[in-house]
Symmetry: C2
């Protein structure tokens, strides 16, 4: 094999939104896989808000990406060569393959996926970390009960869209918050939410009063900032706020403004709980089985917003933060 690998490496730690100069586009030969390793041809790269956090030199749930390292990314691809007994050439797999065309990784860090059950992009979306984040965040942290009101921010985004569908499966009333009329139409008409509030059109607090007359039982937050504050002000007794992300804050250059209305937790005997999907290693397989069943039965849909070309990675990543994507943003490696 004389394969050439192209990669995006972190050139500098961004201040605010990542700039072109924060990236280095590199080329190197693809190494041979060693003992226990597999060589993967990367087909699809998952673009996730969490990637912005990985670029900062701060203590978090995983170490930051080092300057000079290939940018960390979840991805899906095809096994070209395997020195690991669980994988064979032609297998479709997912893993942390990075923003590059080829990855050599240990088989223990690779998951095989069945493309007869769902197309490959779905394994980065509803049946990937994205969907499983929605699954554990809503079901384990949020603990929905039939008849409760669930509000989801970033509702037209990758995680939010799955959260809303799962909440409907649990017979909840589901209200999405999204930016723009088209996204609001999408979450109601295509994902089956009961209502949507367009935060770009105005008053989120008024929308929450209208659509959550009995208050919010579960607020699943992907965005932080003012929308989190508006939701806190509308909590029902014993509400659960699930902190999944805070995309409005990831490029902040100053201190993140905290939620002023947090004392609503006190008067409502409510909780605000954070989590990341890596908290659930022992239950991931069990959860995925249930998600696959729902998907195959047509109870869950999956929507991917697929951009093309590894070279477009820097600009495509920025679409997450400008709110341009609907559904799961994926980069197809040409």
């Amino acid at each position: 094999m004389d394969l050439v690998n192209h990669q995006f490496r972190l050139a500098a730690r961004p201040v605010g939104l990542p700039k072109p100069s924060d990236w280095q586009y590199t080329e190197e030969p693809v190494p041979e896989p060693g003992d226990g390793e597999v060589l993967v041809k990367v087909r699809l790269i998952s673009l996730d808000p969490a990637m912005r956090g990985w670029m900062n030199d701060t203590r978090s749930y995983i170490p930051p990406v080092g300057v000079g390292e290939v940018m960390r990314a979840l991805a899906a691809g095809e096994v070209l060569a395997s020195n690991h007994p669980d994988f064979a050439e032609g297998d479709f797999v997912t893993g942390l393959f990075g923003v590059q065309e080829y990855a050599v990784v240990h088989g223990g860090a690779v998951m095989k996926v069945d493309t007869s059950l769902a197309p490959l992009p779905v394994y980065l979306s509803t049946l990937g970390m994205t969907g499983m984040t929605a699954y554990f965040g809503l079901l384990d942290v949020g603990r929905p009960v039939a008849g409760e009101t669930v509000v989801v921010s970033g509702a037209a985004g990758a995680v939010g869209g799955v959260v809303g569908q799962l909440a409907k499966l649990k017979d909840c009333r589901v209200v999405g918050i999204a930016g723009g009329a088209e996204k609001c139409r999408y979450v109601v008409e295509e994902l089956g939410f009961d209502a949507a509030i367009d935060y770009k059109a105005g008053d989120v607090a008024a929308g929450l009063r209208e659509h959550c007359p009995k208050g919010i039982d579960i607020y699943f937050d992907n965005v932080g900032g003012e929308i989190l504050d508006a939701a806190l002000a509308r909590l029902a007794r014993h509400a659960r706020v699930v902190i999944c992300g805070a995309i409005s804050q990831y490029n902040a250059t100053g201190a993140v403004p905290g939620p002023s209305n947090y004392l609503s937790l006190l008067i409502n005997h409510a909780s605000m709980t954070g989590f990341v999907i890596s908290d659930y290693p022992d239950r991931y397989a069990e959860g995925l089985r249930e998600m696959v069943e729902w998907f195959v039965a047509g109870k869950l849909s999956s929507c991917e917003d697929i951009a093309a070309g590894l070279e477009n990675f820097p600009d495509t990543l920025l679409r997450l933060f400008s709110g341009e994507n609907t559904g799961k943003l994926v980069l197809e490696v040409a």
Copy 2:
């Protein structure tokens, strides 16, 4: 009976710290108790940070005190006359008697206390709402496990001092945060905390690093503001933050600054939960029995800071917010 009652009524809703003109000192004849009612001679008035919240015209867990109404307050006193079968003249009782010398209240809202087990002030303190707030907040919301690290703010205050003692009873490592060297000495030497951090002396974050080398498992917050933020930055995995109060913010005239470090909940799979003692009507009696047992067995101490004279109510209340009291602040009605 020709008794005269003196009262403090809310004259105006305060902006910031209550001013003298926010109060009206009134005098009126004591009414006769009606059917089912008891007449109580108020001996001791409980001064609580929550009273400041009751003075605001905002939605909360109980309605605000109306302008012109007698200021709401927990208090302890002696029954002078009873038209309720559960009470007789000479009984010692507690209830929401208000800031006044005499109260006529329905017997259903009055609790009899046994002064052979503990002196009357203790029933506003360790064996009153204060102690029970510590009890349910720490044990039910915080759920301490032996060996965990518990941090308490307002540690020399009424609730904080009980929280720390209860956490020691549960074999936790207990670190208090208090203002001033004397308060820090008090919580360590008299209440048995393992360590104390003087927030007036400087860097709370450094103190938390020193005294919580494995992070904070439970943070019991009475103060809010910067101290809450410092604690959030030091959470251990699966930490529980108990929001009991935010005394640093109760007199704020602008928006309460939210805790900037709330995303620490996300990376640590941690929760922040609020509560008020009125959330526990069904379990109050059971909890009080256990607290009385601990108190009688000498496992819990109670400390009251007793000021004298109903006429000093406005100034005495302000001592809560300037951090002058150690232990439970009580006003003795002359």
